[in-house]
């Protein structure tokens, strides 16, 4: 069994992470799942959340949303629509986005337009993930 995983995290704009790692936790659309060396081949869609990977004892976090994750032959490939490391995140902006989304959610009854509701929920989830990742970076 190989001891390590090769992780590649790419977005349409750039390759965000390319590293040898010991463990990856991926925010799948059906929930978070962890990947260790020797994992069975897997293809999953990505939700909104935090990709966490561990190298030795160091943990790294990346905020990601939308896309796919593939695990095959101890290679983890994550194709995200958006992915940001703590250094990329503008925390103040994320906080404003959170407040905006919360305001929008509070301001309307659940019966009102479904799309706007979903959109606001997604915006909120993204903002919260960013804030969380940003705070880990400190």
């Amino acid at each position: 069994m190989a001891e390590r995983l090769t992780l590649e995290l790419a977005t349409p704009a750039r390759l965000v992470v390319s590293a040898e790692v010991d463990e990856v936790v991926v925010p799948g659309s059906q929930g978070y799942f962890g990947v260790l060396p020797g994992h069975a081949p897997l293809l999953a869609t990505l939700g909104i959340g935090e990709v966490t990977y561990r190298v030795g004892r160091d943990e790294y976090h990346v905020a990601a949303s939308g896309g796919f994750a593939e695990v095959r032959n101890d290679k983890v490939i994550i194709l995200a629509d958006v992915a940001e490391t703590p250094a990329d995140i503008d925390r103040a902006r994320a906080e404003r986005a959170r407040d905006r989304a919360e305001g929008r959610l509070a301001g309307r009854a659940a019966s009102q337009e479904e799309i706007d509701y979903t959109r606001a929920m997604c915006a909120l989830a993204r903002a919260l993930t960013r804030i969380q990742v940003a705070s880990r970076g400190q």
Partner: protein, 294 residues
């Protein structure tokens, strides 16, 4: 016969033109580098995506996704991608010529256009075409969102049965000195692209799918379309700078040649003038001498 002053004026004019073309060349080179980096950094995502797609289509039992649906309908949408500015050699006119050929050559009863870049818009707006959408003056701040908006618009139209086919026409960036107009069918997604046509026979991997293969495919296909549009935009952006660089290089060289020719002309004219003056003086002195002897 041009006077000395005229020639000098022309030399100066050509010199200032040369300064401009040189500066434009340098700017284009800098922009080109950035555009190339962008293409390179998108490559991992794009190649991985293609691989996933072919794996998945062979994995999913029934690839009957609406975006794959081949229709017989006649309504074709042509997306014409040019630059906003000229002075880039045949970069824009090549695309426009190809577009014209395509429009004339196709039997489609109903053609609609989407024009990207000011050159395409200005050209086709003056003619009797149905332009559904345009996108101009964005090249300097090109990013993925532009591609996503465009691609989502195409898919929406396709799924709503507004159009039956979407074709992209853009300059492919082959190298700094070579751009080639290419035509790519965007929608419906051609089977060749999903059939593992990348040369490597897609080895059958027994994946755990989360959720189902069909759901993942449904997620993947729109992204594939967006990526295609994104690639077209990036290639065109890089190609534009490459074409401009080459054009300006040629223009600078041309200016140098002209300055050389004009300088020779100037020197000849100057020599002539001096000779003439000398003759006058000699002739005058001779006349005076003869007058004194007489």
């Amino acid at each position: 016969m041009a006077t000395l002053r005229d020639i000098q004026r022309r030399i100066r004019s050509v010199q200032s033109t040369q300064k401009i073309t040189r500066a434009m060349k340098l700017v284009a080179a800098a922009k080109l580098r950035r555009a190339q980096e962008r293409i390179l950094s998108a490559r991992p995502y794009a190649s991985k995506m293609a691989e996933l797609l072919s794996n998945l289509v062979s994995g999913a039992e029934d690839a009957g996704h609406p975006l794959l649906e081949q229709r017989e309908g006649p309504r074709r949408q042509i997306v014409i991608i040019t630059a906003d500015r000229g002075l880039a050699g045949a970069f824009n006119s090549n695309i426009i010529r190809r577009a014209n050929e395509l429009i004339r050559g196709s039997s489609s009863a109903e053609i609609t256009l989407v024009v990207v870049g000011r050159k395409a818009r200005d050209f086709f707006r003056r003619r009797t075409y149905t332009i559904r959408r345009d996108l101009v003056a964005f090249w300097d701040r090109l990013n993925y969102t532009h591609a996503k908006d465009l691609a989502d618009y195409f898919m929406q139209q396709f799924l709503d049965h507004e159009v039956d086919e979407v074709v992209l026409l853009y300059n492919e960036f082959r190298s700094v000195v070579a751009q080639r107009p290419v035509r790519v069918q965007l929608l419906p997604i051609p089977h060749a692209e999903t059939g593992g046509g990348e040369g490597t026979p897609a080895e059958q991997v027994d994946y755990i799918y989360e959720p189902s293969p069909e759901a993942i495919l449904g997620d993947l296909l729109p992204r594939h379309v967006r990526m295609q549009v994104w690639r077209a935009l990036m290639e065109s952006a890089a190609g534009e700078q490459g074409a401009r660089m080459t054009a300006m290089e040629a223009a600078s060289k041309n200016a140098k040649d002209i300055i050389g020719i004009l300088t020779i002309q100037y020197n000849k004219a100057r020599q002539e003038k001096i000779t003439k003056e000398l003759l006058d003086i000699v002739g005058g002195a001779e006349a005076l001498k003869q007058g004194a002897e007489a």
